[in-house]
Symmetry: C2
């Protein structure tokens, strides 16, 4: 082996163990939200901080610089590995280890505080913690930005290549068409909503069957209940959570399909990339494109909802939806609502645009945490025409800020945009797809996504990943076209 190849081998051996340890930290996070006894919260904070200390030390190991300088990349896979290691090293060396550990400790404990505050509907219980999280993330952003924009520095963690400016410009182009569509739809007769009682156990059985229908690999995953649905882990162990509201089965159904999309991406990545930087979804936006296309373009399609309707009738009996068309309309009912995760496809991105503006202002220091609730409620009234009735329907609804995820929200809309592009390409590549979906069969769709996108992991940049799969450059056009066609058809506009 040449000295250059030795350097590459040594570097990858180091990185491989770092990856294994980061999987441990992620598993610990899963445990915290699903299994951990409540009294262990403080201790878990110390454990998370200790893990972060280890990870930070490994990511800033001074030998990495030498390995990177000497290593040779004989092929595009090795070149991509080196790109990711270089990025990780550059990022990690900018942030002091103490700050990284403190962030891990504080955000671990903050999750439980957020959950309690949300349950009690008390903003004041959460504000000191949120202020501390923001303070720490701003400190970190200052280290990373090196004089540049703080919020951009945080976005970069979740979506390389993106910036507040580029995302804001895209949101600006999207908003008029979304608002026009919303106005048109809200002027039309309102379809009947689903009502009734759907017992938890039966919902969970249906959720499992839906996961199976979408090809979830149970030998390498599992599903549990949590306050906030999420997916966690990768390689051969990617788990999902869901939640159940007995009066609203769409909550469990669509959060499950969404998380199956995330996990399926992780589980589909080429096993050759396991325990390396290529062995992850390449960005949060691309990740969200997978969860969203599973959930919406496939899961909320007329064809697939027809199959779900049949499944629900055989499980829950007559629940007041006489036809598959009525059920399709209920699934896709457009109405202003408080909760982002329950929003219809027309409103969803408007929620994100609001989060984007608020968190950008928080991180830039233009909005103080004490003013956040008022700012949230004012903006919600302006964007949705509804007064927030309680904090759990307002600024306490999402876990993200408690765990320091600032810069993450915009990737949700980016993911929707990418899902729009992928859906266009998928429909062209698999013309008989609706016939499959009507029988509850998703293999053609998930197989196309696996082959063209998922298996490649971090081999290409996020935009290149989408372009490679679609055969065209991504833009917001296909998503907006899809939404207009779908909802104008559904509402007979």
């Amino acid at each position: 082996m040449s000295a250059n190849n030795m350097a590459y081998a040594d570097l990858m051996a180091h990185v491989r163990q770092t990856e294994a340890l980061s999987k441990v930290a992620e598993r610990l996070g899963w445990d915290q939200e699903t299994m951990m006894p409540r009294g262990a919260a403080e201790q878990r904070g110390e454990e998370m901080a200790a893990m972060e200390g280890v990870l930070h030390a490994r990511r800033t190991d001074p030998r990495i610089e030498g390995w990177l300088a000497a290593a040779e990349a004989p092929d595009e896979v090795a070149a991509a590995q080196l790109y990711h290691v270089r990025r990780s090293f550059a990022r990690a060396t900018k942030v002091p280890g103490d700050l990284a550990q403190e962030l891990a400790r504080v955000t671990s404990v903050a999750q439980g505080i957020w959950a309690s505050a949300r349950a009690a509907d008390k903003v004041a219980d959460f504000l000191p913690t949120l202020a501390r999280v923001i303070e720490l993330r701003r400190q970190e952003a200052a280290c990373l930005a090196q004089g540049g924009d703080l919020y951009d520095a945080l976005i970069d963690d979740y979506e390389p290549e993106a910036s507040a400016e580029s995302l804001g410009a895209m949101f600006g182009r999207m908003r008029p068409r979304l608002v026009a569509l919303r106005e048109a739809v809200l002027g039309a007769p309102v379809p009947a909503a689903l009502t009734g009682h759907f017992p938890q156990e039966a919902q969970l059985r249906l959720a499992r069957d839906l996961a199976t229908a979408f090809g979830y690999d149970w030998s390498r995953g599992r599903i549990d209940l949590a306050v906030h649905p999420f997916s966690s882990g990768g390689g051969d162990d990617s788990r999902i959570t869901t939640r159940v509201v007995e009066s609203e089965p769409f909550n469990c159904i669509y959060s499950t399909i969404h998380e199956v999309g995330h996990s399926s991406y992780e589980l589909a990545i080429d096993p050759d990339y396991a325990m390396t930087p290529l062995g992850h979804g390449v960005s949060m936006g691309v990740h969200e494109s997978q969860s969203r296309i599973y959930e919406n373009q496939l899961g909320r399609s007329r064809a697939f909802t027809g199959w779900i309707w049949g499944e629900m009738r055989s499980r829950f009996g007559d629940f007041g939806m006489d036809s598959a068309d009525a059920f399709y309309a209920a699934v896709n009912r457009v109405q202003p609502g408080f909760i982002r995760t329950e929003a219809d496809e027309v409103h969803y991105n408007l929620h994100i645009m609001m989060r984007f503006d608020l968190e950008r202002a928080l991180i830039r220091g233009d909005l103080l945490v004490g003013d956040l609730e008022a700012a949230w409620n004012d903006r919600f009234m302006a964007d949705f025409g509804v007064a927030v009735d309680r904090p759990s329907n307002g600024m306490l609804q999402d876990v993200h800020w408690s765990v320091g995820l600032f810069g993450y929200f915009p990737t949700y809309t980016l993911g929707n945009v990418y899902a729009g592009c992928l859906n266009k390409a998928l429909r062209a590549a698999v013309p008989g797809l609706d016939a499959d979906l009507a029988r509850g069969e998703t293999a053609a769709a998930t197989g196309w996504l696996r082959e063209n996108l998922q298996r490649h992991g971090g081999l290409r940049t996020p935009r290149e990943t989408i372009t490679h799969a679609c055969g065209f450059e991504p833009s917001e056009g296909p998503l907006l076209d899809y939404l207009e066609a779908k909802f104008r058809g559904l509402y007979r506009l």
Copy 2:
């Protein structure tokens, strides 16, 4: 702060993070046996190896030597901390990091292989793995023993101060009285056994209520199902597992109480010792004394079984036990059986003595792994007068060897011996105990144990811990006296 105190503070800050990381590794082990999807076994092996690499590097950090040389111990707590760090450093520096990592990886994967082999009753499926585990543990023992006895070096991991010679001598003193008692009991009329069907859900509810009756702190623990009952973790997060056989509720009942004993010990340790070497049970023998006194001297007493009998009648209806006395006799029914964990108190230690001799021979190289099944079965016939009918009733029954726990089994009998001593002291200190137990109240007993033993964690050596609690030096006498009195009474000998 003086330089000496600075050294102590720096050392303890280092140790504290190491403790946090070792708790992470332990939580990962719990996850593996309760939650992990099967397909993740290989990946988990890599994760465990990576964690062991981190722990080994921290435990052998060259700065520790300097800190230890400079540190001052102003009080007995600090002195005990330094004692433990010195021991850990001396041990860790003798074992190469690569070997420690390989052991972690191999034993992690071996667990799943053992479980599959046990389920399929195929020794051959497990032998190559067992051979590899033994080979690695022998290598490790050779590093530790530095010319001394390999098996003693492994015992030292679980029971400082103990040796094969001292344990063997104690077993030699115990065997004649145990065998004589067994012969006497087996010559008497056999009490009726419990029969019937006890549904899993109802057994698990009872198990939870029993844990509550023994004071288990649910805010810092949880109970789940696993192949092998165990307790895991400490500080503010100590979890237990149990298993259910619907025809044999004593299995679930007594394994639950047993594990509650272990977890209660960990959860009772002085919070000032959290995340330090004093914050653990001091040895496996002392640990087992807690699980055993909860399970046997308390849980299988005439008084407490009377309360369980009432609880079971109210939950399961009439299950064919007409009186609390008959139930007590069924709980304590003495009979030769294959399974150690289900053995009565008379037979239990005979199982351990057999494991002790076999594993000592394996580690010393006197017994080859290919000859183990025959050696096991011959010895079982000699000691118990019964032919092993299948490997899951023989050498595949216990998880221990798959995870490399050689030198661990004898601590079970040592724990029984310690439990005998503690029971003698407890009964003298709390004269009205049986009246409490008859009402399902254990607070006086568990409070005495907490105050006199559990809260001290690793402050004293194992024997000193028992002596401090009992007020006398431990020996096997009290256990044998207790067993003879109990079973001669029960069998009217």
